[in-house]
């Protein structure tokens, strides 16, 4: 079956192990996102796939073929960098034409013209073709960079945080366009980012990378609803999930240093563990069972983040629209019991059921 795969890839640098036994796979036409903080090894992964770095061990399979011995040119992948992707001395047209003019392809000029104009239209940059790249805005530059990848129609697109350097609003717009483009073209894309919003909204599937290791793979729903470790739980979801130290007493789960208790689930819980509650699952209500003080309010318009304090404990709570509370108010709230997460001291999700 034709597919793209990394098998047990390890890459070491003198001071750090960038990739440690990394394995994942994705299919044709899939938008696969590699999510992780800076330094996790995402860029190294892309470079190994592209052939710009050689792995110390492990296999890279593109389209069912092992490509260790292939040069970057032979792998037929396109790379979109975070910045410095356009040649400053050339016009937009020449930038787009550059990949096609490579000796490997030897495309005749009329054909180049057709392909360049096609790509320019898809990215809505036809009016920029004659400009020098130095005159473009950040968003336009990234469009051209993506255009340069498209003209070649490669078998795989590698994108290294292409939206990170753009303004927030521009990122939003380009995100939608990119996803739409990928769906209509059916292009296989491996997209790398540290922004979980990008990952959740764009991906068909996500692999979470941390310190060179794959921590979890799955669909956006799976990653969000069933995070395998506290790291994944905290990485995905805005505002961050609340992780509260808790213990089991009789039939209830009791949060340490607090009066918050919830019924114990049918899981094999150790004596001490971490209880994960997403901010949207803390619901202020006049008849709420628990109480806390409002320490900080972050009004975002569509929703409001309340920083609640209960003794030593701080929790984030997300309410829709404007919140009537003020800083210093005491608020009563409930917790949605069906959406609780339990993590052991090893930070992994507790899934085994109680006998």
């Amino acid at each position: 079956m034709s597919q793209f795969e990394l098998q047990h890839v390890t890459k070491r640098f003198p001071t750090v192990t960038a990739l440690d036994d990394v394995s994942f796979s994705f299919r044709h036409g899939e938008f696969f996102v590699l999510l992780g903080p800076t330094g996790a090894g995402k860029t190294t992964t892309l470079r190994v796939i592209a052939g710009l770095e050689h792995q110390d061990s492990g296999t890279v399979i593109l389209d069912g073929q092992r490509v260790e011995t292939h040069t970057p040119a032979e792998r037929d992948v396109a790379f979109v960098f975070q910045q410095y992707s356009l040649y400053p001395t050339m016009t937009v047209y020449d930038n787009l034409a550059f990949p096609l003019r490579s000796p490997l392809r030897k495309t005749p000029e009329p054909e180049i013209k057709v392909k360049v104009e096609e790509a320019a239209e898809k990215l809505r940059i036809t009016q920029l073709l004659k400009r020098k790249t130095a005159q473009l805005s950040g968003g336009e530059m990234q469009r051209v960079a993506i255009g340069r990848a498209i003209v070649r129609n490669p078998r795989l697109f590698l994108m290294d945080e292409p939206l990170s350097n753009l303004d927030a609003k521009l990122r939003e717009a380009l995100r939608v366009e990119l996803k739409h483009l990928q769906k209509t073209q059916g292009s296989t894309t491996l997209f790398v980012t540290h922004d979980q919003v990008e990952a959740l909204t764009m991906a068909d599937r996500i692999a979470v990378l941390n310190e060179g290791k794959i921590v979890q793979q799955g669909t956006p729903d799976e990653i969000y609803d069933l995070p395998a470790t506290t790291f994944v739980a905290q990485l995905v979801g805005s505002p961050k999930i609340n992780l509260l130290p808790a213990a089991r007493t009789d039939g209830a789960v009791h949060v340490k240093d607090s009066k918050i208790t919830v019924p114990a689930p049918r899981l094999a819980l150790p004596d001490s563990f971490l209880l994960g509650i997403r901010p949207e699952d803390i619901r202020p209500s006049p008849q709420g069972s628990f109480r806390a003080q409002v320490k900080l309010i972050e009004p975002l318009g569509v929703e409001t983040i309340l920083h609640l304090q209960d003794g030593e404990l701080t929790m984030l709570c997300l309410v829709p629209g404007m919140a009537p509370q003020k800083v210093g108010d005491t608020v009563t709230f409930d917790i949605v019991k069906e959406k609780l997460h339990f993590f052991g001291q090893d930070r992994a999700r507790i899934a085994a059921e109680r006998r």
Binding site: D167, L200, S238, L296, L300
Partner: protein, 363 residues
């Protein structure tokens, strides 16, 4: 104690305006955010306040005294940069002590203030480290400490969270806000991220193309945007803006939909638009409620999953796509036909000729 006033402050390069004449009063202890896309003039404005740029017209006053031409070092303002600007050849402790040494403060006083500030920002363990070796968040804390130790009249921050990972940005945002609440220091903060502006600002100055578009509290700019730019810029995704024709109490949208104007708006709308019938209907994604009997219809074009909620891209006609916020439970494959209503309290109207909002206050 610091009130900052900008009167007619302007910055021109030849014939080109980088900042059009601007009037703004920042009250003592206020956290004001200059918000806008790249190139709108927000950073230039901040730099003029700090003295790193000269003004081509206008006055800047600090506590009533004019400081337009004062050297940056004499304005009693601390500047926090996006890329930290820490001295890599000095230790963290020396970095923080640096401004005080420049002012000629005595050694014991320096030690005391450094310790104070380092405790507030929770970085006492980093005193001996070199800034170059620290993580982004820690570097930014050192930069904040360096600004804080001066006890300046005002803090000026130029996109300080821009270089950090998304996850870190969230927590640093709350830290800076908490710091502001504790110190009660006048702060002018520049950002292009409207979430930051909304979460942190007491007031937001929305700028675009060298001009101020609106000044108001987060609630003001969110619920009552003054014009189309603000309506689109604030909120993620921004407000839906659909063109239509007003006739007899309802707006006809392209593609066949008709929206009945709520009674509270009917008189105002006709008067504000004068004789024309062209109008722009505005509503935020959360103002749209999917319902089987909804008045407006469209087709689902895409679904964005955000974790706690989803956003549907609904196609009203060929090129008019609106965003509708929905919960996770609903699943809409591409092509599904949906109907929705707009919350009458949250609908807004704009005049397409002037791009200004039709006032939502009762006349």
């Amino acid at each position: 104690m610091a009130t900052i006033e900008l009167k007619g402050v302007e910055k021109k390069f030849g014939d080109m305006f980088a900042v059009k004449p601007l009037d703004l009063t920042i009250k003592d202890g206020e956290f004001v955010v200059l918000l806008g896309p790249s190139g709108c003039g927000k950073t230039t404005t901040l730099r003029m306040i700090s003295g790193l740029e000269t003004v081509t017209a206008g006055k800047i006053l600090l506590n009533g005294k004019e400081v337009t031409w004062r050297h940056p070092s004499e304005r009693d303002m601390a500047f926090v940069f996006q890329f930290y600007a820490l001295y890599t050849h000095l230790s963290v402790r020396q970095n923080i002590a640096f401004p005080l040494q420049a002012q000629g403060v005595k050694k014991e006083e320096i030690d005391r203030r450094v310790k104070e500030v380092v405790d507030i920002l929770r970085i006492p363990h980093l005193l001996r480290a070199r800034p170059g070796k620290l993580a982004g968040g820690d570097q930014q804390r050192v930069a904040l400490a360096r600004a804080l130790v001066r006890k300046p009249a005002a803090f000026l921050m130029d996109e300080p969270l821009g270089a950090l990972d998304a996850e870190l940005r969230e927590s640093m945002r709350a830290e800076i806000k908490n710091l502001h609440v504790a110190q009660h220091a006048t702060t002018v903060y520049v950002t292009h991220d409207q979430v930051e502006a909304m979460a942190m600002g007491d007031r937001i100055v929305v700028m675009s193309r060298a001009e101020v578009q609106q000044v108001g509290t987060p609630i003001d700019v969110y619920y009552n945007p003054a014009n189309i730019f603000v309506a689109r810029f604030i909120g993620s995704p921004g407000m839906n803006l659909v063109k239509g024709q007003l006739a007899g109490g309802s707006v006809s949208l392209h593609g066949g939909n008709r929206y009945t104007v709520p009674p509270a708006w009917t008189d105002r709308l006709g008067a504000a638009l004068g004789g024309t019938t062209e109008v722009i209907l505005g509503f935020r994604p959360e103002a749209a409620q999917v319902s089987a009997q909804g008045a407006l219809a469209g087709e689902v074009y895409a679904t964005d999953m955000y974790g706690g909620h989803t956003v549907l891209h609904v196609n009203l006609n060929e090129d008019e796509i609106v965003h509708v916020r929905s919960d996770r439970q609903s699943s809409y494959p591409m092509g599904t036909k949906v109907r929705f209503d707009i919350d009458p309290a949250m609908v807004r109207f704009f005049d397409p000729r002037t791009e200004h909002a039709v006032s939502s206050e009762a006349t």
